[in-house]
Symmetry: C2
Subunit: 443 residues, 2 copies
């Protein structure tokens, strides 16, 4: 008897699971159901598609439906799974067809958050979560002149959209309910991002209270407690939420973050039902607590683990560190592990040190300031997190700290870590060493 | 009674020890003896000074003698320590003055290797180990037109000198006794460096047997088994050797590498005598064997450890990983840990995998091929080393592996390591993940 795998969701985690399971167990009958028109696409590059750096949307497709078909995986586009019967082991699609499954991967992803602000639910208020969203925004920008844009929010998507809009020459205003861009960043570093926005002609308006949004095909406005801002388009980038309605209806357990809970094999509480990607929560390897980290690379890794286990393997997803990065005009911004507040909440007594060092040897031309913030546990010196901002060298060094966090390295050990040195790439004491020294003094 | 610290050698390790010891124990009477005219300089940027990227030699001075004087450290330039009496606890300088010491740091550094090739000992054959050497070469290049240069060797200094000479428009030929540039690199990667040399107009002649060198103020020639090469200047970059004559005469123990042996406190076998820098060998953290790694960053770290311990602390130097990097025209080259041969010699059964991935997300413009070679132990999967070559992103990722090596991470664990992902900085599966997957398949 041929076994069947049904995959609910065609973003990143689902297709990864499908491909891996099929590779491991070629006899498997694999079906991916995706309610949208695209499968296996990279959502993260979409702001660059909108901004024009990426000319061809096809470049963001990891695997086409034809490629899946060649690999023996059937993709059902514009076809949603609307019900799962875990007792019977069946899934029903929107057309009413009932599919018996031996394994199911719930990978419904996440959706843009639309808080209850009057007018925000208008179809003329754009959001950006998937490729279809990106195409809608791009079509709007291409179709009719957009001179002024309003961006609500100041997270990754908001920042990347502001840059994309500036690349297209659009006057851009960021309206932010909080005080600082990228709320995970320490205030000192976040301020650098606000300055970078202003330096690149983005008007940055923090601390607003949204009272209403009005938008039609031609124009848009956002009303706050202080003012009404007018523009030609409004993009709401107010975060994402895990897509869990069907999971909840099916009896798949949700965690304290509101996302699907899995064990380290990516199994849910229900037999033969796995989950992966932005609809799930992960174990944070530093705090050892559940965390919601809707990031494409994590989705791919989880999907692969689910697929490997469905394919008969025995593979664990080890959890995540919260490593993430964003480019904002000429700044590299990267972070990993916990920030001060998260560390305190997880029960650590954190000490932080922040230094500004050079990205290259002092004598070597072209070096740039690199701002490095490290967080460690006061008693043990154990590293808890890092945040780096600078024109170059932030991401690579943050990844070094990620490896260090993964292995519970202390700042004392980081001080002595043998990193590559050559004048074009770092000072003889790397910025990480300098930050570790500063942090060690506070233990 | 004031205690006195005598530091033998003013390169990198000695001054680091002096500064740290004085900071920790301000009452200490500290003297640095340096036989050359410069103290506390960075030797690594000197090729860029010769090539013209660094205009001012002062930029390479970490601390001037005046700065040391302000910190209460006396620097004796052009003054060599010629004898040490460890029983009496005295050191004698070239002028005959005898200095009683409570602590001594032997940091005599290394010197350019001049193998017994006829004519190689001529003062008109240039070498590059310190700032004075660099000034000599630069003066020669500035004084009289140099159209053609011959570089003997294909290690870091040879490669950096070839680039420096090309930046000055000099026709450059590298004559190499071995087959491949940077002998630590795997052949496949080394070939990329040879191609990069040729692409940038450097003639690369491997496999020569040197038979003689002739050089005067105007011109130079190198005779090999096959041919006589003529030029205006010859630079011998045939490696370095630890400077240990005085150490040997003093009874300081040397190790199997020929360099000074220390414990992890940087203490030699003789009481109150420490050692640091290019004159010492280090414990390799992967092989757990002694290794000779004459690198500026290691010298600084060792010096700091020696100084901290002299100052009353209790600090360990944890050993080194052999992390190193070099820029060669448009290539970043970096490596850490062991290579195949070193791993086999250390008793491991290594398996290697090499992949070529993209430095950025496929859809994002400007990405470059990045060649990643990983080495792991076949039985355990433990990472043993990494070598990366590419136009961007090699050093940062090599440092990630350095942290992983430091903590005995396996390739399986590296496959799942949570690294930052954003399209401008990496594909969703980082080149390190892809290489780890390839390597894991061979376990």
């Amino acid at each position: 008897m041929t076994e069947r795998l049904i995959v609910v969701g065609g973003g990143a985690g689902g297709p990864s699971a499908a491909a891996k399971a099929k590779r491991e167990k070629p006899s498997l009958d694999v079906h991916i159901f995706e309610r949208g028109p695209h499968v296996s696409y990279a959502a993260c590059p979409t702001p660059y598609y909108i901004g024009g750096r990426i000319a061809d949307a096809d470049a963001m497709i990891a695997r086409t439906p034809e490629r899946f078909a060649r690999d023996g995986i059937e993709v059902h586009l514009d076809q949603e799974i609307t019900a799962i019967d875990p007792e019977a082991g069946t899934a029903t699609d929107a057309s009413g067809t009932r599919w018996a499954y031996d394994y199911l991967v719930y990978a419904a992803g996440a959706h843009s958050h639309r808080p209850p602000i009057p007018g925000l639910d208008s179809p003329h208020v754009y959001t950006l979560k998937d490729l279809r969203d990106a195409q809608r925004i791009k079509q709007r920008l291409d179709a009719r002149p957009v001179r002024r844009a309003l961006v609500m929010g100041a997270g990754y998507i908001a920042l990347e959209m502001a840059e994309a809009l500036r690349e297209r020459g659009v006057q851009t205003t960021i309206l932010h309910g909080g005080e600082r861009p990228l709320r995970l960043l320490a205030p000192e570093l976040s301020a650098l991002l606000a300055a970078e926005l202003e330096r690149n002609g983005v008007r940055y308006v923090p601390g607003v209270v949204f009272q209403g949004v009005a938008a039609d095909e031609q124009e848009a406005s956002v009303t706050t407690d202080g003012e009404t801002y007018a523009g030609d388009i409004v993009i709401a980038a107010l975060g994402v939420r895990p897509t869990v309605d069907l999971a909840r209806a099916t009896g798949i357990a949700l965690g304290e973050t509101g996302a699907v809970v899995t064990n380290d094999h990516q199994e849910t509480n229900l037999e033969r039902i796995y989950a992966a990607g932005d609809c799930t929560e992960v174990r944070h390897r530093v705090s050892d607590c559940p965390a919601y980290l809707p990031l494409g690379d994590i989705a791919n890794k989880q999907g692969r683990v689910a697929g490997a286990n469905i394919g008969g393997g025995e593979v664990r997803f080890p959890g995540a560190l919260g490593s993430q990065s964003v480019k904002l005009f000429d700044l590299e911004v990267a972070l990993t592990g916990l920030n001060d507040e998260q560390a305190a909440r997880a029960g650590f007594s954190p000490v932080a040190a922040q230094v500004t060092a050079r990205s290259r040897a002092g004598a070597y031309p072209g070096g740039q300031p690199l701002h490095v913030r490290l967080l460690a546990e006061k008693t043990s010196g154990r590293l808890l997190g890092a945040q780096l901002v600078g024109a170059e060298g932030a991401v690579g060094r943050t990844n070094v700290v990620a490896a260090a966090l993964d292995r519970c390295m202390s700042v004392i050990e980081l001080m002595a870590l043998d990193l590559c040195y050559a004048p074009p790439y770092s000072p003889v004491w790397d910025p990480l060493h300098i930050a570790a020294q500063a942090c060690a003094k506070r233990l």
